[in-house]
Symmetry: C3
Subunit: 477 residues, 3 copies
């Protein structure tokens, strides 16, 4: 049986699928003409453009549901679909859509599924794309959901790196800016880790570090090895660094992260990735945000760095760099169309050689057991901006988590992928609770079905559960 | 001579034309693939989709002028035109259109007529579509005008019934919700009556009964026979019920409505049609609005009912029903595209076999005499939300009415179709007034041209008219 | 080498190019069918419409970036591109675009250049189109920038005149309304002068006269000869009048403007061009704005006048004129699509015979020397609404001017084309300043590079410059 594929996270695509997106994107790029060519010369190309690709999408429709401001993402998706010969239908403004009448996202995507062949969604809430995918009957592409992920931006970023640097493996990448609020960065670091790049994080200001759950996933799911802080203490702006083992399955044979970091940094920084302050994700206004300019780049380790930025910029990237040979951000933006053409083509089977595989989902699928909880009681997603807490969507979302059976077990929200640590498991039958332990998801057992998780003892008690033996002991200690 | 056809009311289409819309919609539906098929299997169908229909509309343009929020209607019209191979131009937001500069609808549609081959209009004012049709030089389709009508929604609703129930005649239909504010219901009840269904009305709350003029039309123009209230008193929620005679021309031979109601209700309710509270049409907020849920449907008479809803819903239709076999509302929504494809095709002559007839207008045209009044004096439309009372449109609208020569004569606003009863007729020559009487529109006479109608004696006197003999007698009585 | 062509001003097109736009527009108009034909007859034409033109633009994309409300201009551009077989991507609402995130226009157009083959821009700031053109790598079309220009409206206006009057030369044109705030009028008067029409200006209210720099250009750059005021004093509403010499190169051989005016006005006014009060360009509300109605037109000199209006209207043009044979404004609106089809075709080389010439720019290019000034000191554009004063765009604009070496030299802002008179030139080397003189731009010299211009003595002194000999003398006088 075939399975409907969505791209709600960069991790919905396997590495080989990302490679195939790029193969196809290169072909489209060649057909569109190199964007470095200017003006009239491009105009002439028009008639040739109506070549192989321009009708592959004819008769197909892409729906764009944007619940947040966007120019770049929306217009590049629309351009991509038009270049493929298809059509687009767009809702760009929440105030003039049925959301203004109080309609839920779940209802909207079910209906729009019968108007279009694929849906792009942008939404202010983390996890909204996953909710949309749950209810859609056509492929859903995440065009940015809250502070969660922005996978197609990451595809463009990776494609730029693959063109600028001819490889992804072993690249040294500095990522700077609002690491907490930028969905773009969250998708990007996962992808860098998966493709074997080394990552140095440079928060734009205090409090803008990478979220704890993203850091945890880098280390525990994506084979990143953190470099001890002393190693890069001289770099005042660097907050964390990871090296990615060359061969994940040979991790134990490898040198220490420190040694690797030394070796690898000798060749300098390959990429500086800058992002703006995500003012819409912060309650308070920024104070001192970093600025990348000629001064920043004069350190010799940036000599061959490509500077990337997902744009828009609002001051953190000096316009004096625009003509600098290291500036790659407009080139990066120009790949938005061919890369999205490729992804759409593959999702919609326009190209027999490049369709997405029909397995369950992308890179990480099926790894963790799913915990689904009765609606009224028990633990809730800890992220207040998660789609499950949206009053309009509440009725359509479940308290559903992935149960991660690590030593300290974790619950990962099915929608926004934020983790909860330190929670309690109440046994439904005996109505007592204990600290959650990894054994609950042991293969062959079905114990996850027997428990309800609680955030803390107060919650458990309110639900009529009493402490089990070890919980009582812990309380007394 | 050929006549430009518009669809401002469901009554602009004759029954046979509705049937032809459905024939064509069925063909499009087959080409699009049954929407019950999910995901990739649909994707594959893309290449076949570019079959017979996909180029019939090539080179044609549909303009969408939306002065009120919409996702569903606008996107489904756009999708329909794109599936036909045509293009769309859209103004979805009054604030970013020339209406913000103070342009009238009349001017806008005259100009947009030269940009597009047909115009869909949605507007907060009752009768706006009719005004647009008066000034457009291309077909105008009403996408919902105030609380007046929403004929294409009704086409989708009827099409759903014809697929779910295989017929329209003799269906027992319960209609619930905001019967006063819902334009969807107004178009729907006319259509049900015309196709011979029986109607039970269940207002969502007090004050939400069907408007008096709609009720009058059902009884007097569409052969509906009201069932005496005692008959359904046990149904506390039912406010009014009508049976439609099987053969309108044999009305006198038929049993009484009571008897028919008994016989017909034995087979149970075929359809429950639910609508949301139309908050934008009400000054005050709702108190206790009805809710259709499993509890509501457990009565055995709903055993085989299909549940329909034009969507969006905001609480009046329990999401727990979504997986119920009786839920037909997402299926209903999925017919939006093929039905609108069919209507557009027929209006624009894309299909030689299915063009709309070239007669003056639809079901009821030309029946009543038209009364047109000098702008400054006399009676005005009684509906404060009518387009004639919009300050921006005032100059472009006339005080124009259909004169309905029933025993108690009525004036029906040409735009919003709201009726006025009990008004006075002033004789222009003798400048006296009397109660209006049916004889004014007698064939062969031209007496309508000789009179000016007034709402009441005060208005007549202010205009310099004095009571005629019978008016004076009535005043003295 | 080929040069990228933009249309930011009507003067970016040479007269012969305007003629070629009209040739092509006539062909498209014939293909679309005469818009005077109504309704179904037009529908039938659909299949023929997919003739020569309908696929010339296939595969091409037009981007519409609208930072100000618009229906007419945006929809007609979109319609034009669709009729050519191309596609459109549109940002119609600043609030739902990346401008809401603080992105500059310069960044936006650079990115959108890689999404589309041409860009139409509308913006509230004067000169915004020129800024966009500076950064775009595809052709930019000005869809109206502040109170500066609206060249495609002027193309439609001229095309209407050429069809209504069969010529442009020697037409007598009355232009009424908000001559100060209407960008439409600014483009229009330049074009009228260039094509040899005579112009009478009739401001809609006090303070609405043509801006001084536009008047100066008419007289000094476009060969208009002002008629002495006594000549038309009897016409209380006329504020200024110009005759255009039949043969510019024989100016000295011609009769006086007075004599010409007499002769030319004998045939009456050919065109009355009405415009609305541009409320969005004025801080204060209008008092008594003019109204063109039957009364206005009853003067016998308007007997054969065509009445034009760019629309929307808001009261200054009586709707009672709509059915008057002289009303040409809806016809004018209907030319919006074929004229824009022609312009797009030519800019994008869709038609080998009609491409724009590959010379530097249009009518006036290269005439004046360019003065570019260090950012921090010296003179600034005197127009507070110029794009250079937009806080979001400031960093991307230069203080750049054309230096007009007339007897009294002028600086013309490179972006908004507003002139500055009476300014000072500081010599960079000797750091003293004098009144600017025409000699600075003498051919062969490079003295413009040696100076910095200042608005006044205070500004020069603040920058550390002292008065030169003649400046000192003037100060003492």
């Amino acid at each position: 049986m075939t399975t409907l594929r969505h791209v709600t996270s960069i991790n919905d695509l396997a590495n080989e699928e990302v490679d195939r997106v790029f193969d196809l994107a290169r072909r489209f790029l060649a057909e569109l003409g190199d964007t470095r060519l200017k003006g009239r010369a491009r105009g002439r190309r028009t008639s040739q453009r109506i070549g192989r690709s321009a009708h592959t999408g004819a008769g197909s429709i892409l729906a764009n549901l944007f619940y947040e401001p966007s120019t770049r993402t929306r217009l590049s998706f629309e351009s991509a679909m038009l270049r493929l010969g298809g059509g687009t239908i767009t809702s760009a403004d929440p105030a003039s859509s049925s959301a203004a009448k109080g309609e839920s996202l779940a209802d909207t995507v079910r209906v729009v599924s019968s108007y279009a062949d694929a849906i792009v969604i942008r939404h202010p809430r983390d996890g909204a794309a996953k909710l949309a995918a749950e209810y859609a009957s056509v492929p859903v592409i995440n065009g940015g959901d809250g502070a969660h992920e922005h996978p197609t931006q990451t595809l463009c970023d990776l494609f730029t790196l693959s063109r600028e640097k001819n490889k992804l493996k072993n690249l040294n990448v500095v990522i700077s800016g609002d690491l907490r609020g930028s969905r773009t960065i969250h998708s990007f670091v996962y992808a860098l880790a998966r493709f074997g790049a080394n990552i140095m994080l440079m928060p734009g200001a205090k409090g803008m570090e990478l979220p704890a759950h993203v850091d945890w996933r880098l280390r525990n799911e994506f084979h990143c090895r953190p470099v001890p802080k002393e190693k890069y203490a001289r770099e005042s702006a660097v907050d964390a660094a990871y090296v990615t083992a060359d061969e994940p399955h040979q991790l134990s044979l490898m040198a220490s992260p420190e040694m690797e970091f030394d070796v690898k940094l000798k060749k300098g920084v390959d990429v500086v990735y800058v992002t703006r302050f995500q003012k819409e994700r912060w309650a308070d206004q920024k104070q001192d945000y970093m600025k990348v300019d000629t001064n920043f780049l004069k350190d010799k380790r940036y000599k061959r760095s490509s500077v990337l930025h997902p744009l828009p910029r609002v001051g953190e990237l000096d316009i004096a760099l625009d003509k600098n040979r290291r500036a790659a951000y407009f080139q990066q933006a120009s790949y938005g169309v061919p890369v999205r053409m490729a992804l759409i083509s593959m999702l919609l089977d326009f190209d027999a050689d490049h369709a997405l595989e029909k397995f369950e989902s992308g890179f990480r699928a099926g790894k963790y057991a799913i915990y689904e909880q009765p609606r009224k009681i028990g633990i809730k997603c800890a992220n207040p901006n998660c789609i499950v807490h949206d009053p309009q969507e509440g009725a359509y979302t479940a308290n559903r988590f992935q149960f991660i059976a690590s030593e300290e077990p974790r619950l990962r929200c099915f929608y926004c992928e934020t983790d909860i640590e330190n929670f309690l498991a109440g046994h439904r039958r005996w109505r007592h609770y204990e600290a959650a332990d990894a054994g609950l998801a042991a293969p062959g057992t079905k114990r996850l079905k027997d428990v309800i998780f609680f955030a803390d003892a107060a919650e458990a008690k309110a639900a009529g559960y009493s402490p089990g033996r070890s919980a009582a002991k812990a309380a007394n200690a």
